[in-house]
């Protein structure tokens, strides 16, 4: 028991978990907005984004203080470094959700609805929420095994592939709506990026627990 460092690390971990919660809420709001076809909910996401950004700053400051004042080593050091990277990834995730929400806020009309539904954004969001649950469990229990299957998962890639195919078909079918379809397809790319960021977070968890660097190896 290190009586000075441990409370600091605990506080840092709590903030990290809270940030994951915030992202999860943002995802849930997006889904609600999508399902209920409610543009006001989409607007509330834009406000939620501010809290995500604030939390990233808090975590960054926490990490800086711990490094400067407590000189952590080994697992502690890796945890602090990993947390910095995870908070960065979470913040970027938030940005992507915000862009998605902006689109919904501007384009969630009756005449676009059928097209939007075809791209199955809700299935992406469901998957992310499920993953974030695992991430939280893993951080709380210091158990990296929970997230290893996420790192190996190829679901995002498959979803993206089918979306490409779908977009090609839709463009042929609705040449008058090419612009909307392309924007929707771009949003799928955003979703894919969120997926890879959550995967990065999972890799950081494995790094700080096991000191193994999975990045750039696992995918080869």
């Amino acid at each position: 028991m290190n009586s000075t460092l441990d409370p600091e690390l605990q506080a840092l971990r709590d903030n990290l978990l809270e940030m994951v919660d915030l992202i999860e809420e943002q995802l849930e709001r997006s889904k609600k907005s999508l399902v209920k076809v409610d543009r006001d909910i989409a607007k509330s996401i834009l406000e939620g984004e501010k809290r995500v950004n604030d939390m990233e700053l808090i975590i960054g400051k926490d990490c800086e203080n711990i490094l400067a004042l407590h000189h952590p080593v080994a697992t502690d050091l890796r945890f602090v470094i990993a947390t910095m990277k995870m908070s960065y990834d979470l913040e970027r995730t938030g940005d992507n959700i915000k862009i998605f929400a902006k689109f919904l806020h501007a384009n969630l009309h009756k005449n676009n609805l059928s097209l939007i539904e075809r791209f199955k954004f809700d299935s992406f969001i469901d998957l992310f929420i499920e993953w974030l649950h695992e991430v939280k469990k893993s951080i709380k229990s210091d158990n990296p095994d929970l997230v290893k299957k996420i790192i190996k998962s190829s679901q995002i890639m498959e979803k993206r592939k089918s979306a490409t195919k779908l977009a090609a078909e839709l463009i042929k079918e609705n040449p008058d709506k090419v612009k909307v379809i392309l924007r929707l397809y771009a949003l799928v790319q955003r979703m894919a990026r969120i997926g890879s960021m959550i995967t990065n977070i999972c890799e950081e968890i494995v790094f700080y627990r096991e000191a193994k660097v999975l990045k750039h190896h696992a995918k080869k």
Binding site: M1, N2, T4, L5, H71, P72, V73, A74, T75, D76, L77, R78, A211
Partner: protein
Amino acid sequence: MKNIIETKDVNVFYDTNHVLKDITMDIKEHSVTAFIGPSGCGKSTFIRCLNRMNDYIESFSMKGQVLIDGKDIYKKKVRVEELRQKVGMVFQKPNPFPKSIFENVAYGLHIQGETDKQLIAERVEKSLHRSALWKEVKDILHKSALSLSGGQQQRLCIARTLAVKPSVILMDEPASALDPISTAKIEELILELKQHYTIVIVTHNMQQASRISDRTAFFYMGDLIEYDKTKDIFTNPKKKETENYISGRFG
């Protein structure tokens, strides 16, 4: 780089008290090796085994081998005085002789019977240069060494050791009695000395070990728990005890 020090199954007893257990370790030439561990773990006893400074403790007995340049230093015909010229030592508290600065550095040569004044003066100057003390003391060489500050005294002790041309320098917590600036100077000096000498240092200061050493050995209760590259010890130790110790979660 070749191994300059090799120990094989070193066991040390104080009377019946088993203070070091089967220590086997290689130390590379021109490197800095740090010994860390809680008080009473045996690290100081072990470093003193490397130049037989434990010989004067009556209850001390040792089994195993300590090879320096491939020669067993505990063999009967080894001359301890020659060994100590080759393997010098710097102690925890600066301990200059109550003599002048010059005489302190020249002492090692005097006891070797060196009488060539020219040579002695040259060697003293060179040693003081190497220990980064020359600029500070060149005008007061004949003042008492006790008039220097603690940090200067410790660098004088290092200069004194350098004057007898050792190849290994053992340092037993050399900066533990010094302020941060003097400590930084000693550390800087250690990194410079590394080019010409092999340095083994006992320290209680984890940051010091991580800053200056190439390899770190963690001792606990007379066992060598882990010995590895310093980078690995401080980022990813293999043993739970090591991690607990370096992250301050001991006991």
